[in-house]
């Protein structure tokens, strides 16, 4: 037996529960191999003595019992707490469970978060999905071919043609007018916003599918997903117009335009 074997022996003694092991030291010392190693190895002998000391300390280790009124205290506290589940009848009927005459009832804490957990989770999931799609899309790709849009049976009033935003290098060119750069950048960012709106709409429609394909000749049902999306779009239109007007006004008022 070497020192590693000895340590392994000590560790393996822990595999038995404590109670049956209380006399294990004496039993182990019956092993001649262990005895001879301990006799010849001061380090392991010291370790063995330390373990013996610890075993003695554990044997002397006592804990005073809890106070005698522990049960009363627990039953009292059980009766006083607002019950998360109905209290056992006998506890509820116990005199200590009755509130004092001058006591005021505790105000229950309302957990708003839990009530709206499902819609919040859905909203977060949809936003995350839209963000992921946006990140994976090459924004320089055209939103739609203007010629193809013009051939649609019900073409939109205006089509935003995506333009690649100007690079910093282009801004440094002295021959590019600043209003040209701003107009170009504005168009590109509007196209990006439109793409984001489209992606969001697709993601939302994927999560909340319309029960039926709506008839273009009939008004949309009030509570259908397409009607809801149309309302969102209608709500955004004034903002889009306002942004466009502000941009145009700024460009018209710029020194370059006046010059």
């Amino acid at each position: 037996m070497n020192c590693n074997d000895f340590e392994a022996r000590l560790e393996s003694m822990l595999e038995q529960p404590w109670a049956p092991r209380q006399n294990a030291n004496a039993r182990h010392l019956e092993d001649p191999e262990l005895r001879s190693h301990l006799a010849g190895c001061p380090a392991c002998h010291e370790l063995w003595e330390a373990n013996r000391l610890l075993d003695e300390a554990v044997t002397a280790w006592r804990v005073a019992p809890p106070s005698v009124e522990m049960a009363d205290r627990i039953l009292f506290a059980l009766a006083q707490e607002p019950p998360a589940v109905p209290l056992p009848k006998a506890v509820a009927a116990h005199p200590v469970a009755q509130p004092a005459k001058n006591s005021t009832p505790a105000t229950p804490v309302r957990r708003h978060g839990r009530r709206h957990a499902a819609p919040i989770t859905l909203a977060v999931a949809m936003s995350g999905l839209a963000a992921l799609v946006l990140l994976s899309v090459d924004w320089r790709e055209p939103v739609a071919d203007p010629a193809a849009v013009a051939n649609l049976p019900n073409p939109p009033a205006s089509v935003v043609v995506p333009v690649e935003p100007p690079s910093l290098k282009a801004l440094a060119e002295p021959d590019v007018p600043v209003e040209e750069l701003v107009r170009s950048a504005g168009s590109a960012y509007l196209a990006l916003a439109q793409r984001a709106a489209n992606v969001f709409e697709d993601a939302t429609t994927g999560v909340i599918p319309a029960p039926t394909i709506p008839d273009p000749q009939q008004p949309l049902p009030e509570k259908s997903a397409p009607a809801w999306l149309q309302k969102v779009g209608d709500g955004l239109t004034p903002w889009q117009n306002r942004l466009g007007n502000t941009l145009d006004q700024w460009l018209d008022d710029s020194p370059a335009a006046k010059g």
């Binding site: 000590l10 560790e11 822990l14 595999e15 038995q16 529960p17 404590w18 109670a19 004496a26 010392l29 005895r35 301990l38 006799a39 002998h45 370790l47 063995w48 003595e49 330390a50 373990n51 013996r52 000391l53 610890l54 003695e56 300390a57 554990v58 002397a60 280790w61 006592r62 804990v63 005073a64 019992p65 809890p66 106070s67 522990m70 049960a71 205290r73 627990i74 039953l75 506290a77 059980l78 707490e81 019950p83 998360a84 589940v85 209290l87 056992p88 009848k89 006998a90 506890v91 509820a92 116990h94």
Partner: protein, 183 residues
């Protein structure tokens, strides 16, 4: 699970006040013993014991009747002790920093020396040690209560023993009897 325990739980679930009292009295030493050894403070241990029983009684209808009751209670107690220790550490950290060399008692018996040594252990080591020696549980049972693999429990227990033994030696505590068998 003994028939007596099943009957006791049945009474508690039926709302029998005597049953509830018997339930608390039956297991209070078990729970309080663990709490006191973990927290090292009688008042705190009583508070946590009360909390453990409140939770246990309110959750009795979730308890699986096929499984023994003691490990279930000890699991609740272990979790509450860990929470209490975490809270306490946050509260007393500044106080300890102010007085790192608090006077320690010098004339103690072996059990008190062990109590003193236990306070120096990491929480998980102390929990393993207490469950093994005070509650006399096997490594498998401790593993289920703490929720860590058996091998980890064994390692923690071994390290706890080693650190405690070192602490006792550093304190100059000697074994009561010499090992004559080795001579």
């Amino acid at each position: 699970m003994s028939a007596d325990d099943l009957q006791l739980v049945g009474k508690c679930l039926a709302g029998d006040a005597a049953g509830l009292r018997a339930f608390v009295e039956r297991f209070q030493n078990l729970v309080f013993g663990l709490c006191l050894r973990m927290l090292g403070h009688r008042h705190d241990a009583e508070d946590v014991t009360q909390d453990v029983f409140l939770r246990a009684i309110r959750s009795l209808h979730h308890w699986d009747g096929e499984r023994p009751l003691e490990p279930w209670l000890l699991t609740i107690a272990a979790n509450r002790c860990r929470t209490a220790l975490t809270t306490r550490k946050r509260k007393v950290r500044s106080l300890v920093a102010e007085d790192p060399a608090a006077p320690q008692p010098t004339q103690l018996d072996l059990g008190d020396e062990l109590e003193l040594a236990l306070a120096t252990l990491r929480d998980e080591y102390r929990l393993c040690f207490t469950l093994y020696y005070a509650q006399e549980l096997s490594l498998a049972e401790i593993s289920k209560i703490i929720g860590s693999p058996e091998g980890t429990i064994k390692t923690w227990l071994y390290r706890a023993r080693r650190e405690l033994a070192q602490f006792l030696r550093d304190r100059g505590v000697a074994p009561v009897m010499n090992d004559h068998e080795l001579q």
